[in-house]
Symmetry: C2
Subunit: 211 residues, 2 copies
């Protein structure tokens, strides 16, 4: 996945000569906390946030150029970079949005931190039973029922709580990978549970094949 | 994981009688795009963003109370709610931050969207070999070398490219779960590869035990 696939292309922009009052109205009406400053060829020359604007209004500045950060001082991304870099940049620099450039330094989009949250959470929000379906597809010869039965046994072993295969099936139909990760306390623990289930069904499959 | 574990406790706050100019200086100096409005018992009564402040400064409003959103109109979280709800709220409401309340309606922290990105990305950024280490721990009797060998075989089978166990080991030492997910195109595909590896080592382990 590339940066351009998760960027917002409906971004707003201002230019360096624009009156601060006008820029503030534009940012408010589009609910943008930050916006790129472009030249007449749509190339990035700077960046302003609504906090630069409050300071500018208070100190009686007139033009955007008087309050903007230079493009050399801000974090930016290229449209063809891996989307993962946007995640790392947002987390490292603690910004609300990041301008995205093409090869000519033109701004083609803006990555917003909440868009990253949405992308990350959608990667996480796949249903847990999808992973079990993949397991059944991969482990030829193991049935869905055998997998649910093994899962119920492993759950009992690990949590001490008795659960039927049917209850386990309901549980994974309703929960997402994201919930499972938060609930088990991390990826590694989640995997350990899956591996234990895999070990049980595979051992049974091998035993059956040898009969 | 609970909301209180990922919230920022070094948040700032303003009160309804505060002068807008004073509030704007406080927000700028702490680099906050939004802040809760509290009563004298630290209970939430409203919320202002830097966009409310630019409008307030322009329209010559005097006090925070004139520009704030009522607490009933904003998204908020309880400190003991699952952290996952913060992810869903940030993604759904597209906000930069969310106030966190205790049982008395007092603000005890603020969830910032980039903190969520950081938490999500740290969940993702665990090294892939950690998952394999968990596998070795769980599958008693399988050695690390056997696991790397099985991984090399599965990789050859699935990609057609020959890779040695040592090369595979280097690869998982350098890459993270996040990279693997973005690279393989999603969780399910990643799991299918892991399951295939698991099947191979478990089948060999069972065969060994029966000798």
């Amino acid at each position: 996945m590339k940066v351009k696939e998760i960027m917002d292309t409906e971004f707003i922009a201002v230019n360096a000569d624009m009156d601060i009052v006008e820029a503030s109205i534009k940012m408010e009406s589009h609910k943008k906390f930050a916006t790129p400053v472009l030249d007449d060829k749509k190339r990035l020359i700077g960046w302003i946030t609504s906090l630069d604007v409050t300071r500018g209004l208070r100190d009686n500045h007139k033009k955007v150029s008087e309050i903007m950060h230079s493009k050399d001082d801000i974090v930016k991304l290229h449209e063809d970079e891996p989307a993962r870099l946007a995640v790392l940049a947002a987390s490292k620099y603690k910004v609300v949005s990041i301008p995205v450039l093409d090869t000519e330094d033109r701004v083609v989009g803006v990555i917003r931190t909440f868009d990253i949250v949405e992308t990350l959470s959608s990667l996480y929000e796949i249903k847990v039973y999808k992973i079990f379906e993949a397991m059944v597809r991969e482990l030829k010869g193991v049935t869905w029922e055998e997998l649910m039965e093994a899962s119920a046994i492993v759950t009992k072993r690990e949590t001490g709580k008795r659960v039927t295969a049917e209850e386990y099936e309901q549980r994974i139909k309703n929960s997402t990978f994201g919930e499972a990760i938060w609930a088990t306390g991390g990826l590694e623990k989640f995997f350990v549970g899956l591996i234990a289930i895999g070990e049980l069904v595979i051992a049974r499959k091998v035993a059956k094949a040898r009969k």
